[in-house]
């Protein structure tokens, strides 16, 4: 039946998408594996010396220069009320673009790209507060469980929680 062919194609495409793998970028921090949409990452760099900013929130430990560009560092641990990611000469960061913001996310270790079958993605646990607030899904790959972060929402929330210019102290 000719009329049914487009529907069948759509269904086939949807089924293929359902069974396909999704690519995420994975970091180790907060004692676990956290990932976000891979296209958000432009590169992974080793942190240079940090310049601390006056009147900055704890989740913004400073800025560093990379190829002549000054980049802000985002510490997700501090944002969600956990311990700060230790910043050493060996610390690496993923440079990400989230809407208008370009930040370097620090972590304990960079795992890199991981592919997770979409069918394994499950809704995040219904916990309020902490990092759970920013999870969009939980998936599994060969190495174990991966918590998927909604990074654009996390970055935007960080900005919104920061003290507006002129309203803070040192």
């Amino acid at each position: 039946m000719p009329e049914s062919k487009p529907t069948t194609e759509r269904e086939g495409k949807a089924a293929a998408e359902e069974s396909a793998d999704a690519w995420f970028f994975c970091l180790r921090m907060l004692g676990g594996r956290y990932a976000f949409e891979a296209p958000l990452v432009t590169e992974v760099v080793r942190l240079g010396p940090l310049t601390r900013l006056p009147a900055a929130p704890a989740f913004l430990p400073g800025v560093f220069t990379h190829r002549g560009e000054v980049l802000p560092v985002l510490d997700i641990g501090q944002l969600v009320g956990r311990t700060a990611v230790p910043i050493r000469a060996s610390t690496r960061a993923a440079i990400v673009h989230c809407g208008p913001w370009k930040v370097a996310v620090v972590s304990d270790a960079v795992e890199g790209l991981v592919s997770i079958p979409r069918r394994t993605l499950e809704p995040p646990p219904a916990e309020a507060g902490g990092v759970a607030e920013f999870l969009s899904a939980v998936g599994r790959d060969r190495a174990g469980t991966v918590a998927i972060l909604d990074l654009p929402r996390l970055v935007e929330t960080a900005r919104a929680r920061a003290v507006p210019a002129g309203g803070g102290a040192a």
Binding site: P54, V70, R159, G166, G168, A170
Partner: protein, 130 residues
Amino acid sequence: MTDPTSEILMFQVGARVFAAVVHDAVRIGAVREAAADELVVETALGLPFSRERGIVVATQQAEVERTLVVDQVVGIRSVPESDVHPLPAFAAACIGSGAVTGFVMVDEAPMLLVDLPTLVRERAGAAAPA
């Protein structure tokens, strides 16, 4: 053809050295020469260790000057404008002071660039009675 340059004033507050555009400073003086109510001691840059040197800054109010207390005035330097960078957008949106406007690369290290009138105005605003 040489790059256009900016004149920056470098000064120290506490353990850190900051930069400001030279024309933001009216003059450099001793703190003892300024009236007590004109002094700006604690700012977003922190507290100076000593209270001897001051950078006199004009405010938006006509004929009103404030003296930013610093530990020392390090000097004036001419830097290529290509070495002056704005604060990254995310950092600018997050920090609690509008006085930090960017960075100047000095000897390949970023030095915070401070808008002196905004710095003293913020402090005056914070110190004003509710």
